[in-house]
């Protein structure tokens, strides 16, 4: 009886050692050489596997970054500049600082501003709704409100506000991975520079209809009047298809466009003080007056129009 136990133990042990040897030899023979820096880089990455960098996940990004000659075309939006600096140290590359970005919803068609003209009772998915029709309000460009953006966010950074029916981005949690941008069938979410201390000015509308049509559909719509375009002294406003768009690379945060917008479609975000509209308007008038005097041809009509 004892000898059976002993024999069993011996045989199993010897067998185990033999197989371990075989495994070791096979592992040596078929070893996959991987750059050790890939693992280092991967450890430095956030590990969210969100795909915001354009690769299948953090590992794929690390591999690509190690192989790349520089880091210009690789950027982890979730980790931001800190992670990129760490990566650059590991790989010995130079890294250019990128302005931190954030997702911005370009629609402010709240429930009151944008009356519902019909009722949708199909499956509550924006993607399905968008394929069926223009939406349950008169605006065919605005938010559909089913929250596809909320469903794809891996960072819990976007939620639907039941009082407005619009998605709200959490300033702290948003990593600008761009998942919501891709998920929105109406293409109203965009990535913008976060701005100094989070301050930024945005046109919160994507409606390309002509003024009266847009206004009828939504009280907060950009009606394409072009006043902001004419007022901006930094050339930051692009005016196309009855819609104004602020180029965040050129915007100097003077908030003049916000003051002149007749429908309040332009929003200043995270500014320490509320906008003093009359003061800004007076400043604009003063400047325009001076400009005309400099030319030497005072035009009374224009002054009236701009006032």
């Amino acid at each position: 009886m004892t000898s059976t136990i002993i024999w069993t133990v011996v045989i199993i042990t010897v067998l185990g050692l033999l197989l371990a040897l075989v495994l070791y030899l096979v592992a040596q023979r078929f070893k996959v050489e991987e750059d050790p820096r890939v693992e280092e880089v991967e450890n430095a990455l956030p590990g969210a596997n969100c795909g915001g960098c354009g690769f299948a996940g953090c590992h794929a990004f690390a591999e690509a970054a190690v192989k790349a000659p520089d880091l210009d075309s690789h950027y982890c939006p979730v980790g931001g500049n800190d992670v990129m600096k760490k990566m650059a140290e590991i790989l010995g590359y130079e890294v250019r600082e990128k302005a931190p970005m954030i997702a911005v919803v370009r629609c402010n068609g709240t429930c009151e501003a944008r009356p519902r003209i019909n009722e949708y009772d199909g499956i509550q998915l924006c993607s399905v709704k968008a394929e069926l029709y223009a939406g349950d309000t008169g605006c065919s460009f605005g938010c559909l409100g089913c929250g596809d953006c909320v469903a794809v966010c891996r960072f819990d950074a976007i939620r639907m506000d039941p009082s407005t029916g619009l998605p709200v981005v959490d300033q702290e949690k948003c990593t600008a991975c761009g998942a919501c941008v891709k998920a929105c069938p109406k293409r109203i979410i965009e990535l913008r520079a976060k701005g100094p201390r989070g301050m930024r000015v945005v046109v919160s509308c994507a409606n390309q209809d002509k003024g009266p049509v847009a206004k009828k559909a939504c009280a907060n719509a950009c009606i394409g009047c072009g006043i902001c375009f004419k007022t901006c002294t930094h050339g930051a406003i692009v005016f196309e298809n009855n819609l104004a768009y602020i180029d965040f690379n050129k915007c100097k945060l003077c908030r003049e466009c916000e003051a002149v917008c007749p429908t309040d479609a332009i929003h200043g975000i995270n500014f320490p003080k509320p906008l003093d509209k009359p003061a800004v308007k007076a400043r604009i008038r003063e400047r325009q007056k001076k400009a005309r005097e400099a030319v030497g041809e005072p035009k009374k009509m224009e002054e009236k129009n701009n006032g």
Binding site: N118, D121, I123, L132, Y133, S140
Partner: protein, 452 residues
């Protein structure tokens, strides 16, 4: 003889054909029409007119932009106001030609008399060319340009032309009225299509809930066959009333007992299917030089006081039709363009009619409200009902998971969007909503792969 129908799936929704006694009447001309440039499958047409131009009824105002596209003709006489985007019935912008109506002056080339022209020209190419110039598109729902369907791919032979008179959608009666009132023209149209295709046989398939139409067409076909050898080979076939008997693949199955393979075309099994109203439009285009400028629209619904079948000029605002019949009833909760199974909800009543508009249906809240969604109880009713032999419960779950490969393996691309699964589901699961989307995604993937 056993009653014929398609072999798998199908449902029996309530018939609802309460407008069957309403003869087709012409709707008075509206003040303005908006004629959409995209009212057929394929590339939107290119406009031939500009603002300020005077047009007559039947004058071409847009030409095809590509092979799969169609001519569009003015449905009224008057002045072109401009080419501008206006909202279609789903609220999306479509480019339309706006024409202010002045009088009703027709092109002189159009034969407006009632004389029946039964002679069938020998020249098949000439018939197809006339159909192309007439802007005829398939009026069964898909609005596929008819001349493209008649241009058979090389090496293919059409054995059987099927004229679809099933009208399996509940409520709609415009095809039925057309068969009763314009039966002779439909039969001549069928003979013209048969000649154009070089087919030996043609079958006019009619569901057996329309016995008057079956008798009427059978009598006409008998008379025609006796007079003119060109009409030999045309038969009338009654089919069992079962939805979706009018689906192209279901109809081929019912009539010829042949199955179109996944991704294949009817011509692969030697069939071409055309709708009754298309046959009438073909007759008008070839024998009378009258392009496709009007179509019959059933306006119906239990809550709608006046049932009607109206002959409506293309581009008429839907609101003009509703106002003519006394406005929207209070109980109406949903307006559907087309039938209740496959029609599209109207989000904008100012939208113009298109060549393919076949019905305007008013449903009450009770009739149209979806029941709350609950859990799948694995009853398998959806799989039993699916006329394409798919498994909707599985496709729904795969679509939720976004598993495109498995969706393709399980033939999501074969879905014909008939809505049988949604109709039978006792748990109120929005099967079709998601499968429809998955289908278009899978088809996009297949197309992208083929393009490589």
């Amino acid at each position: 003889m056993a009653r014929r129908t398609f072999s798998i799936g199908g449902i029996h929704p309530a018939d609802g054909k309460i407008s069957r006694e309403c003869a087709i009447k012409a709707l008075p001309l509206p003040a303005t029409v908006h004629i959409a440039l995209s009212q057929h499958l394929g590339a939107p047409a290119k406009p031939l007119v500009a603002a300020g131009d005077k047009v007559k009824v039947g004058q071409p105002i847009a030409e095809p932009a590509g092979f799969v596209s169609a001519f569009i003709h003015s449905s009224v006489s008057g002045t072109v106001k401009g080419i501008l985007p206006c909202q279609d019935l789903s609220g999306n912008r479509q480019n339309c030609i706006e024409i202010a109506v002045e009088g009703d002056e027709w092109l002189e080339t159009i034969d407006r008399s009632d004389t029946l022209v039964t002679d069938i020209p020998e020249d098949a190419k000439g018939i197809v060319e006339k159909i192309r110039l007439g802007g005829v598109v398939g009026l069964g729902g898909a609005t596929f340009p008819t001349h493209v369907k008649l241009s058979l791919p090389p090496g293919k032979k059409c054995e059987m032309l099927i004229i679809n008179g099933c009208e399996c959608e509940p409520y709609l009666t415009s095809d039925f009225r057309t068969l009763l009132e314009k039966g002779e023209q439909v039969v001549v149209g069928a003979a013209l299509l048969k000649q154009a295709l070089g087919a030996d046989q043609a079958t006019i398939a009619i569901e057996d809930n329309k016995p008057e139409a079956i008798d009427h067409i059978q009598r006409i076909v008998g008379q025609m066959r006796a007079k003119n050898p060109k009409y030999a080979g045309i038969e009338v076939l009654p089919l069992v009333k079962k939805y979706p008997a009018g689906g192209e693949k279901q109809l081929i199955d019912a009539v010829m007992r042949r199955q179109v393979r996944s991704g294949g075309l009817p011509i692969d099994v030697g069939a071409v299917v055309q709708n009754v109203c298309t046959a009438l439009a073909v007759y008008d285009a070839v024998q009378k030089n009258k392009p496709l400028i009007d179509n019959s629209v059933t306006v119906t619904g239990e809550c709608f006081p006046k049932q009607a079948n109206l002959l409506v000029r293309v581009g008429t605002p839907l609101r003009a039709i509703v106002d003519y019949l006394g406005g929207i009833p209070e109980e109406a909760a949903k307006i559907i363009s087309g039938g209740p199974m496959m029609g599209k909800a109207v989000a904008n009543l100012d939208a113009p009619t298109l060549k393919g508009t076949g019905g305007l249906l008013f449903l009450t809240n009770k009739q149209t409200k979806r029941m709350p969604e609950s859990h799948c109880i694995r009853c398998g009713k959806c799989a039993d009902a699916c006329p394409m032999g798919l498994e909707p419960f599985l496709l729904y779950r795969l679509a939720k998971a976004g598993n495109m490969e498995a969706l393709e393996e399980n033939a999501a691309q074969d879905c014909v969007q008939c809505g049988c699964c949604l109709y039978t589901c006792p748990a109120g699961i929005p099967l079709l909503d998601l499968i429809r989307q998955a289908r278009s995604q899978v088809m996009g993937i297949i197309k992208a792969r083929a393009a490589k």
